[in-house]
């Protein structure tokens, strides 16, 4: 069996047309789009970053062999025009597009592809996401247009992996020419003024203030007019940490687009003439991580180690009310521990629908029938966290469960969490890869991170995950993941919460901007009215 060109799925089409203008409006070329961002990039080397502000911009600067489709569910060809996977899954062959160039006009050679992927998968230089390419044994090139991945073991996610930001194709010559004695020093120097293979290239950067991404004149993809993309001359990212100020900028006409609109303001902005308020489907879940261990770090007994207690608390949590309180109704209740936009996500309806009677019954059967006190860590000054915990305090009071809030700043909270020194916390997750593998490895598979630090250790789930890592057949893999998700839901190591979209407000002059479920901001097709 040969598999060729998994193209954009048809499901993407209605979604796209809802966001773009009617078909008769032809895209206009030119213009600078002003993007009001909440946070600046830090390190624009795709292999060396792990923060969203970098990841979400990276695909504009560094193109990949395959690209995610806009619905986030499928793949489309990128720098490679086609690919073949051998029946045993051990050879993946990519045929590169002819005539592709880096932003400085130098050709993208197969040696650059090999070098970039070798670097991205190496233990020394690959950074936190090297594991995504860990199944590759070696990389070979043939002629001027063929790159062959020789797999050490079959990997069902290899195509997803080469479409992920850390597999962005870089120029070996340019990076190695950067000053510095070590690879890391060179990467630092290069990432300050990176020249990549994506539709845009960084032309100026004042840290935490402004970043200008200009059109890469050598980009390969063609627009509707048959001319090379992108349509925009430039994107000017201005960094404005304050939510209210970002919205003011947009309303004053000083910005075209802004991210992280507070949910409380979504409905208000929907009414503002000249502004489009869009909720992009996201691979984002909000939940509460629970410490499942029998004793806490301070030696006290932990009621949350009792499965019946965790189930009772889940039933006592009114997700619809939580959604109203925190997102003003724009989210949907969780149906799995993974966001529903993740491929292979399994749903049997919302998890633990609100049922106080059942919650009381479960708690009465548990070892804590009279209730207990639980301490929940929150991010100090974060209004969403405060609202979530205040809601839980009310919802759980009828069970006799008292929720204590512990407000901490981010680094302290992370330090405690990483030391398992917590009982409960507010949590948020966004996928970085279009596959259930990343979230499952972190949240459910004990060996990699003690199941999201909860301490939940289910031998069968660990075994299922290890099987899924070798399973090439999509349907068999789906079945493995179904069982993992069912087991996780049954044991409830979390308080399940909600799938939350990305709220983006933009001027109605902006067309065809997409934030895909993984969070990546895609500007390649974006255009502006005059």
């Amino acid at each position: 069996m040969k598999r060729r060109d998994i193209l954009a799925s048809a499901a993407a089409l209605p979604f796209l047309s809802a966001l773009s203008t009617p078909a008769y409006a032809a895209p206009r070329r030119g213009g600078t789009l002003v993007f009001a961002r909440a946070m600046d990039c830090i390190f624009l080397d795709p292999t060396q970053t792990s923060q969203n502000a970098d990841i979400w911009i990276s695909l504009n600067l560094y193109d990949t062999l395959m690209q995610p489709t806009v619905d986030g569910q499928g793949l489309q060809p990128g720098l490679a025009e086609s690919h073949e996977i051998s029946d045993d899954g051990l050879t993946v062959t990519f045929k590169m597009r002819p005539g592709i160039k880096f932003a400085d006009g130098s050709p993208i050679q197969v040696s650059d592809v090999k070098w970039s992927l070798d670097r991205a998968r190496s233990k020394e230089d690959g950074g936190s996401f090297a594991f995504l390419l860990a199944a590759i044994g070696s990389i070979e090139t043939v002629g001027t247009d063929t790159v062959i991945l020789k797999m050490a073991r079959p990997d069902p996610t290899i195509l997803q992996a080469v479409a992920t930001f850390n597999a962005g194709i870089m120029s070996e010559k340019l990076l190695m020419a950067a000053p510095g004695a070590s690879m890391l020093e060179k990467a630092k120097a290069f990432a300050d003024k990176p020249v990549g293979s994506g539709p845009f290239v960084l032309t100026s950067w004042r840290r935490n203030s402004e970043m200008v991404l200009s059109r890469n004149p050598h980009y390969w993809k063609k627009g509707e007019d048959g001319q090379p993309l992108p349509y925009l001359d430039a994107i000017r990212c201005v960094i404005i940490p304050d939510d209210a100020t970002r919205i003011l900028r947009l309303r004053a006409g000083e910005a075209h687009l802004t991210e992280f609109v507070p949910y409380a303001r979504v409905n208000e902005l929907k009414q503002v003439p000249g502004i489009k308020m869009v909720l992009f489907p996201a691979s984002q879940v909000h939940y509460f991580a629970l410490n499942n261990r029998p004793t806490l770090n301070d030696g006290t007994k932990n009621p949350l180690s009792d499965k019946k207690v965790r189930q009772a608390l889940n039933y006592a949590t009114n997700k619809q009310a939580l959604i109203q309180v925190v997102t003003h109704g724009v989210a949907t209740p969780s149906q799995s521990f993974m966001p529903m936009s993740t491929p292979l996500a399994y749903s049997n309806g919302p998890l633990y629908p609100y049922d106080l009677a059942r919650a009381k019954k479960l708690l009465s059967e548990s070892s804590y029938p009279g209730g207990f006190e639980v301490t929940c860590m929150a991010l100090a000054g974060n209004a969403d966290d405060a609202a979530k915990i205040a809601a839980l305090q009310q919802m759980w009071a009828p069970l006799g469960v008292k929720v204590k809030i512990e407000q901490l700043e981010s680094a302290t909270r992370l330090a405690k969490y990483n030391n398992n020194d917590f009982q409960m916390r507010t949590s948020l997750w966004t996928n970085d890869i279009n596959d259930p593998r990343q979230i499952t490895s972190i949240m459910a598979y004990y060996p990699s991170r003690q199941s999201g630090r909860t301490g939940w250790n289910d031998a069968r789930t660990n075994e299922l995950f290890e099987m899924s890592e070798k399973e090439l057949d999509v349907e068999k893999r789906r079945a493995l993941y179904k069982e993992i998700q069912e087991r996780f839901a049954e044991d409830a190591p979390f308080i399940f919460g909600m799938d939350v979209p990305y709220p983006i407000a933009m001027s109605d002059k902006v067309h065809d901007f997409v934030q895909i479920p993984l969070g990546n901001n895609i500007f390649v097709n974006t255009w502006l009215d005059a």
Binding site: N208, I240, T245, L248, A415
Partner: protein, 312 residues
């Protein structure tokens, strides 16, 4: 004492102050829970990732070794690279410092432009309705939090009337003056209120002094009496107060820079503390300590000029 001697002694004091401040900040930052590696990696990190990055950033070294290196850096004024932004700290500070200097400088000038004339009017019309109105203004300005004043000004003058841009900075010096006007005004208002109250009190006190009565009795013109005798004497405590407020001006800049999206060192400091970016926090502290010390030095000189009795 000889001038060179005074200056030398003062510079020595500054060096000791800066060293003490820097050492304190080094220790305080290490006492905070968390480290830059976990902040860079966030919730997704595995233990192996954290260990690898700790080693790469060299925050896993013993505290004594880190302290030794820190002292060496202090002496050589080489602040190293920012841990979270991966560029030299000196470059970051040089990029940001002019913006904050301009912001706080404009704020100080605006505060004086607001407070001095109002203080005079209030003092001369002491007890009248103008005086009462000015005191209400002062009370309001000092009691409203800086971020609130900032947001009100943004919503009315920038987003509403569109007289000013909504935050950010310009491309040139003249544009910066325009962009920084609202944030400087935000900072200036509470400072102006403090100065105004102090100067008004001093003016009233001095106006009732015998030597002022004598100068007026001598037949000197009213304006000259006010300038030479009243203002000059009333100034001393206000200038001291202004100097003492420089620290809080920088503190206010932290908030103002966040609300108005200004890339200054105030915002850099906050971001760096949250990111546990030891190198930047240490570098910034040294620079700020030197700056504040220089301001105090200049303040002493000005006071000595205003009141020669203080010049020893």
């Amino acid at each position: 004492m000889h001038l060179a001697g005074i200056l030398g002694r003062r510079l020595g004091q500054i060096a000791v102050t800066v060293l003490v401040v820097a050492v304190l900040v080094f220790l305080l930052m290490r006492m905070l829970p968390g480290d830059p590696a976990i902040m860079l990696l966030g919730d997704r990190a595995t233990d192996a990732d954290i260990e690898r990055l700790r080693a790469e950033l060299r925050v896993d070294e013993p505290i004594a070794a880190q302290f030794g290196e820190f002292l060496l850096r202090m002496v050589t004024l080489h602040f190293g690279d920012s841990i979270s932004m991966r560029i030299p700290v000196s470059r970051l500070i040089l990029d940001r410092l002019p913006v904050t200097l301009m912001l706080t400088g404009m704020a100080a000038v605006l505060a004086l432009l607001i407070s001095v004339p109002l203080a005079f009017v209030a003092a001369l019309r002491q007890g009248g309705w103008v005086d009462a109105a000015i005191r209400v203004f002062a009370q309001l300005s000092v009691s409203m939090p800086v971020f609130y004043i900032g947001l009100v000004l943004l919503i009315t003058l920038a987003a509403g009337l569109r007289w000013f841009p909504v935050g950010g900075i310009g491309e040139s010096f003249w544009e910066d003056l325009y962009y920084l006007f609202l944030p400087a005004l935000t900072l200036a208002l509470s400072l102006a209120a403090i100065l105004l109250r102090n100067l008004r009190e001093s003016l009233i006190e001095v106006m009732h002094a015998e030597y002022v009565g004598f100068a007026t009795a001598k037949g000197l013109p009213h304006g000259l009496v006010l300038r030479r005798h009243v203002l000059r004497n009333a100034w001393v405590s206000t200038v001291t107060l202004l100097g003492l407020q420089i620290g809080s001006l920088v503190g206010g800049a932290v908030i103002t820079e966040t609300v108005f999206a200004i890339p200054g060192i105030g915002r850099l400091m906050i971001d760096s503390i949250f990111a546990r970016d030891y190198a930047v926090v240490q570098g910034l502290t040294v620079v700020l300590a030197v700056m504040v010390s220089i301001v105090f030095l200049a303040l002493d000189a000005i006071q000595a000029m205003l009141d020669p009795r203080l010049g020893t």
